[in-house]
Symmetry: C2
Subunit: 153 residues, 2 copies
DNA sequence: GTAAAAATCTATTATTTCTATAGACATAAA
DNA sequence: TTTATGTCTATAGAAATAATAGATTTTTAC
C-alpha cells in the first residue's frame, strides 16, 4: 500500500505536468491547490528534486518545475524515491540492500527465491508506466464520461 | 515491503508443509525452531486459521496443520490475510475498500486508473505462486549447490 | 545594497502502525 | 481431574509515518 507521501508526490507531479513550461510553481500554491500540508509537501518536493525528477529555483520568481518530460518520469522512479524501495523483501533490494535476519542462507531461501519473481513483476509494471500515462488515462476517462453525457441529453 | 508478520507466516507455513500429515505441530516448537516470538506467532497462526489456510486442534495431542495441500496455498492468499490487502491504493481494494480522501472523482482519477494496472500485475504474480513453489525452489537451489560441490571435489 | 520572495535546512512533535508480551480462559485427551 | 494445548482480551514498547515550527540561504528587483 502506497503511503500518503507517495500519493501527495503523484498529485504534485501531475499538477506540475499540467503547467506551461518555464512557469515555476510555488510550494505554497501547490499545497493549497492540491490540499497537501505545506511543510510536508516541501519535504516531498525536495526529495523529488534530489531524486532528479524536479528542478527548483530559489528566490523571487522561483518555484518548482519538472526536470524531465512526463513520459520520461516512470511511476517506478517516483515510488523508489518516496518509499525507498520496491522490493518485497530487503534482501532483494538493489538500492537499499540488507541481509535478512530471518534466513540462514540467502542462496537457498525459498521466500527470497519466490519473492524475486514478485519483485520482477512489480518492477516491470512500475517502470513501464509514466506520469504521462496517468494524465492520459485521466483525460480519456473524462472524455468518455463527457461523450456519454452528450449522448444522453 | 512485506512486514515481519508476513515473513514469519511464510516461515511457519513452510515448516508445516514439511511435517508428515496427521502430525500437528505445537506453537511452542514452531516458535523455537523458526525463531519467532511465541506470542506473536500465536496471533499469526490464528489469523491463518481464520483465513482458512490452517487447521488446529486444542488440547493434548493438538497443534497446527495445513488445511490445504501446499500447491493450493497461494502466496497471494497468505499476504492478503497478514497484510490485509495487496492493492497499492485502498480505493482499489476488494476486501478492504475505502474511498480515497485525496481525489475528487474516482472514475477519472489518474492515480487510481494507473494503479489498477499495478494491482492486476501484482495479484497475478502473487496468486500464481504457491507454498509448494517456495519449497521446490529452495530444494532446487540446494540441489544445484550440492552438485557443484560434488564436481569440485 | 537593501528588501522581499522563495526554496532549503534542522529540529521537533504527533499520530499511527507494527511488533511483542502477559495473563486469563476454553477445550480436549489421558 | 489433571495436564496439555490453542484461544481470547488487553496492553505495552518500538518504529515508521505524517505533520509542524523556525531559522537560514539564495535570488531578483528596485
Amino acid at each position: 500500500m502506497l503511503s500518503k507521501k507517495t500519493i501527495y508526490a503523484l498529485k504534485a507531479l501531475i499538477h506540475l505536468a499540467g503547467t506551461p513550461i518555464g512557469h515555476p510553481v510555488l510550494i505554497a500554491d501547490l499545497a493549497k491547490d492540491e490540499n497537501i500540508p505545506k511543510k510536508f509537501l516541501e519535504f516531498i518536493l525536495l526529495s523529488l528534486r534530489k531524486g532528479g525528477l524536479l528542478q527548483s529555483r530559489v528566490g523571487k520568481g522561483g518555484g518548482y518545475t519538472l526536470a524531465l518530460p512526463p513520459n520520461k518520469i516512470t511511476i517506478g522512479s517516483i515510488v523508489r524515491i518516496l518509499e525507498g524501495d520496491i522490493a518485497p523483501v530487503q534482501c532483494l533490494s538493489t538500492t537499499n540492500y540488507a541481509r535478512c535476519e530471518e534466513c540462514q542462507d540467502e542462496a537457498t531461501c525459498g521466500i527470497r527465491l519466490t519473492m524475486a519473481d514478485v519483485n520482477v513483476a512489480l518492477s516491470n509494471v512500475l517502470d513501464s508506466l509514466t506520469l504521462a500515462d496517468m494524465i492520459e488515462r485521466s483525460a480519456a476517462a473524462r472524455n468518455k464520461i463527457q461523450n456519454v453525457v452528450d449522448y444522453s441529453i
